[in-house]
């Protein structure tokens, strides 16, 4: 299974302001791409475009060499997106939250998988509490449990480290690297400084132009 997300000449104009212009991007298996840039530089917008939520851009997107509009279904079933907001219902328990995600992902209903995923993010013992009663960091972990629950090659993560404690951050970083080593790809924005590894690459968004450094 190959994995290649390409953007050619990507540009996004919001209300007559160019967030970025002429951005070329190539994301392949085995790497972590970190999108950097000051607030308002269009990081979240870029992630939304690359994850297929926004159709409002110029340029072209390719998934495994096929134009995105043709490959959309294949792309969506290879994608796991964690947004700025955790996407977790406060009135449901972590288990119920994950059950919905499992069904939406098209995976068979398996409580064992859900319990294992929750244990993997350090939420063993909290499975049946309403998520609203958990701390902000624990709620974020419920969302992160999806990384274990639904194996997908391409991860698009918007600020996944929000509200996570120090050990959690280290674990998550290790998890991202492991995913890259296993042949997955990670696209991430974060204010947190990621530790340097050979698989990490930076893409910088700035005043109207995208710069790439390696």
């Amino acid at each position: 299974m190959t994995l290649r997300l390409q953007a050619r000449g990507l540009a996004c104009e919001r209300d007559d302001r160019w967030l970025f212009e002429d951005l070329d991007l190539d994301i392949v298996a085995g790497e972590i791409v970190r999108i950097e840039g000051p607030n308002g530089s269009g990081k979240t917008t870029l992630l939304k475009i690359l994850s297929g939520q926004l159709a409002d851009y110029q340029g072209e997107l390719f998934w495994n060499e096929a134009p995105m509009h043709q490959a959309r279904d294949a792309f969506l079933s290879s994608l796991l997106y964690l947004g700025h907001a955790a996407g977790v219902k406060a009135t449901l328990t972590p288990l119920e939250n994950l059950a919905w995600y499992q069904a939406m992902a098209g995976d068979p209903d398996s409580e064992a998988d859900r319990l294992a995923a929750l244990e993997g993010v350090g939420l063993a013992g909290f499975e049946d509490l309403p998520t609203g009663q958990l701390s902000a960091g624990q709620q974020r972990r419920v969302a992160l449990a999806r990384l274990e629950l639904t194996p997908r090659p391409l991860w698009v993560l918007d600020e996944p480290f929000t509200a996570i404690d120090r050990e959690g951050v280290a674990e998550l970083e290790t998890r991202l690297e492991a995913h890259a080593h296993d042949g997955g790809a990670v696209l991430v924005t974060t204010h947190h400084a990621l530790r340097a590894t050979p698989v990490l690459r930076h893409v910088r968004l700035g005043a109207g132009n995208a710069h790439v450094r390696h």
Binding site: R14, D15, D16, D56
Partner: protein, 246 residues
């Protein structure tokens, strides 16, 4: 076809071409409305039933026609904007909405004024007036929705979707209101559905309707042109234009 659509969608091209058309539409509108109103108000014979008060028809009917047509035009522009992402269509739709609301209001107001000599009251829940009132609410909804978004791009799309939903609903609303009206007030005299009107009466009406349409096109073009300048004020061709002018 494609090239033509995109050429039409280019603000600069539209700006140039509309400058040539604009005087013709304004002239036609002024001429038709002048002829229509003088003919209608001064020379057309008085109605045997309503006397001179029927002359309100020369404002009421064109305004009502236009009010409905503008909503359809707005929805079509919205569709063009959503499908082909042509910004001119959205600018035109944005400019049409207040004009359509104003026309609906004029139709309602003239209907109410007409009601005084005809029904002896300012307001009757007549089928046409009720439909017009609902149309006014639909216009207000589109305008309010457009104004509620902080991002103009989202505002444009939302307003386009709402205009399209509205245009599907307008015939349904119209027929259900007609049905409701006949159920509650059968065989009441309705102001505009009349037996055959003599030629001397409806010719000026036709001229007025045409005049109103020309006025609408001219005004929309003019307003769209200034909207283009406003939205594209950072573009080079607009700066050059401003440089030449000033």
């Amino acid at each position: 076809m494609w090239a033509f659509i995109h050429k039409l969608g280019s603000p600069k091209w539209f700006y140039t071409i509309s400058a040539r058309l604009l005087p013709w539409f304004w002239a036609a509108a002024a001429l038709l409305i002048a002829v229509g109103s003088i003919w209608g108000l001064a020379f057309a014979p008085a109605d045997y039933q309503q006397g001179n008060s029927f002359r309100i028809i020369y404002v009421h009917v064109p305004a009502a026609f236009l009010a409905q047509s503008i909503f359809v035009a707005m929805a079509v522009s919205g569709l063009i904007f959503l499908v082909w992402k042509i910004k001119i269509a959205d600018m035109a739709a944005a400019m049409m909405a207040p004009l359509g609301a104003a026309m609906t209001f004029i139709a309602l107001f003239s209907g109410a004024v007409w009601g005084v000599p005809t029904w002896g009251t300012w307001w009757m829940w007549d089928a046409r007036l009720t439909s017009m009132l609902i149309l006014l609410f639909l216009y207000v909804g589109v305008i309010a929705l457009r104004g509620a978004f902080s991002s103009r791009d989202s505002a444009s799309r939302a307003a386009s979707v709402l205009a399209m939903v509205g245009v599907i609903n307008i015939p349904i609303i119209k027929y259900s209101v007609d049905w409701w009206y006949t159920l509650h007030q059968p065989a009441t005299f309705s102001v505009t559905s009349r037996p055959a009107m003599p030629m001397e009466m409806w010719m000026p009406l036709l001229i007025m309707v045409l005049g109103f349409y020309c006025f609408f096109i001219a005004l929309t073009l003019t307003r769209t042109r200034s909207e283009i300048l406003r939205r594209e004020s950072t573009k080079r061709w607009v700066r050059e234009l401003a440089g030449e002018g000033g």
